[in-house]
């Protein structure tokens, strides 16, 4: 009730948004942008391309009922129950990458030869709770 008294009179169509804040944590587990350029790392002398690289990362709290939303196995909920009811030294499920995409890199090797290489799992594209 207090919340409702405090809450501004929200127009009816915004009700689902309003209730969502009670269903899932504010900073829910999701993918965050991160862009770097190899010149920041001073690696641009030997990494010719790409100039910019967006590895992305996963951050946020895992809601208690993670099932369908994150494609989490049942073990994740079991781990949450252990943390809440049995032993809080067992960590809560973590927000981690679930899928990646590759990256193509053009580099100069120590012997002066040039190599184009495609690396697996270099950019996080989806997050999950585990």
């Amino acid at each position: 009730d207090e919340n409702l008294k405090e809450a501004p009179a929200t127009p009816p169509y915004n009700l689902s948004e309003y209730f969502k804040q009670f269903l899932f944590p504010q900073n829910e587990c999701e993918l965050h942008n991160f862009r770097l350029s190899f010149s920041q790392l001073k690696w641009d002398k030997w990494i010719i391309a790409p100039h910019r690289y967006s590895p992305q990362y996963c951050k946020g709290d895992c809601p208690r009922v993670v099932g369908h939303r994150y494609g989490s196995p049942v073990h994740t909920m079991v781990q949450n129950i252990i943390y809440e009811k049995l032993d809080s030294s067992v960590p809560k499920p973590s927000c981690v990458p679930a899928e990646y995409s590759p990256l193509s890199v053009l580099t100069i090797e120590p012997d002066g030869s040039i190599v184009y290489k495609e690396y697996e799992d270099m950019i996080a594209t989806k997050c999950t709770c585990r």
Binding site: P50, R52, Y53, E109, I114, Y116, K117, Y119, E120
Partner: protein, 300 residues
């Protein structure tokens, strides 16, 4: 420590080689727990390389050959054709390679042939130390770049004689010729800055045996005119040819390399599963019945 060793991802790509100023930072990341020599032995080979190279300072290593500017231009063009600006490999089914290495010749003893005109032959030595055991050859190409500022008529014909030299260690005589081929090319220089000569079948046996050094003599003669129009091939072009680079298209089978067919297979494994039609499960005896149902369903 053992399980912790397993937690460290073995997917760290060869990309994270320590440059000069991040050595300490990277080292602290890779530094092994005190006295965990056993743990070190369990680390994936790649991490060993990283932690070893973490001690080498990028600049203080032996002076390296700076890449040839033409070769660098060619590889940048190959990169643009193979990946997006953000570095994502293009879903190009035709290209199965996930690694392309370009080698410039270590040494070449150019000697002009006494024959008439400009017969350009050079001895080339390519060092292939950078090719790893898990990189399998798909295609190899000799890459000539033409200095197109020289005014040349539109079409020329070139003949390239290639011979591989085996160093015969038993006797001190100079390397003998092990096998050679002649390749004839006809092309228009005005449109092309690069000429690629496919030498895959020629070099396959050497690269398959993980040969570290390839010593070859290349004799490259270009003449004006077009043999099809049987214009007389005359006055050989006096063209300054830059020694060719060796281009290897490889399939890196290591874990951290991107495998197109793998991602294709992955997509095939989890397609959006089409709904099974119940009639497929009907035993044959009721075939007419099910067809009747199907027809009426379709009509509906």
């Amino acid at each position: 420590p053992h399980s912790r060793g397993r937690v460290v991802s073995d997917k760290i790509s060869g990309l994270l080689v320590a440059p000069e100023d991040n050595t300490s930072e990277l080292n602290s990341l890779l530094r092994l727990p005190k006295g965990v020599k056993r743990g070190y032995a369990l680390l994936p080979p790649l991490l060993k390389v990283l932690s070893d190279r973490g001690h080498q300072n990028w600049e203080s290593e032996v002076p390296r050959l700076r890449p040839d500017s033409r070769a660098l231009r060619y590889m940048k063009r190959l990169y643009k054709m193979s990946a997006t600006k953000e570095g994502i490999p293009k879903a190009n089914k035709s290209h199965l390679y996930n690694t392309v290495r370009l080698f410039t010749p270590c040494s070449e003893c150019k000697h002009r042939d006494l024959m008439k005109g400009d017969v350009h032959s050079v001895d080339l030595l390519f060092n292939l130390d950078r090719v790893t055991a898990l990189e399998h050859l798909l295609k190899s190409v000799l890459l000539y770049s033409f200095d197109t500022s020289v005014p040349i008529s539109s079409s020329i014909t070139c003949v390239c004689h290639l011979s591989v030299k085996e160093r015969d260690f038993s006797s001190q005589v100079c390397p003998s010729i092990s096998h050679s081929i002649a390749v004839s090319l006809h092309f228009e220089v005005r449109k092309r800055k690069w000429v690629e000569i496919d030498v895959t079948s020629f070099l396959q046996p050497l690269i398959a045996t993980k040969r570290r050094n390839i010593h070859m003599a290349v004799n490259f003669t270009c003449l004006m005119g077009d043999p099809q129009q049987n214009t007389k091939l005359e006055n050989p072009i006096n063209m300054a040819l830059v020694p060719p680079s060796l281009l290897l298209y490889l399939n890196d089978t290591s874990e951290q390399a991107y495998h197109r067919w793998n991602s294709l297979r992955h997509r095939r494994k989890n397609p959006v599963r089409p709904r099974q039609r119940s009639s497929l499960l009907v035993p044959t005896g009721d075939k007419e019945n099910s067809q009747g149902k199907r027809a009426s369903r379709r009509r509906r």
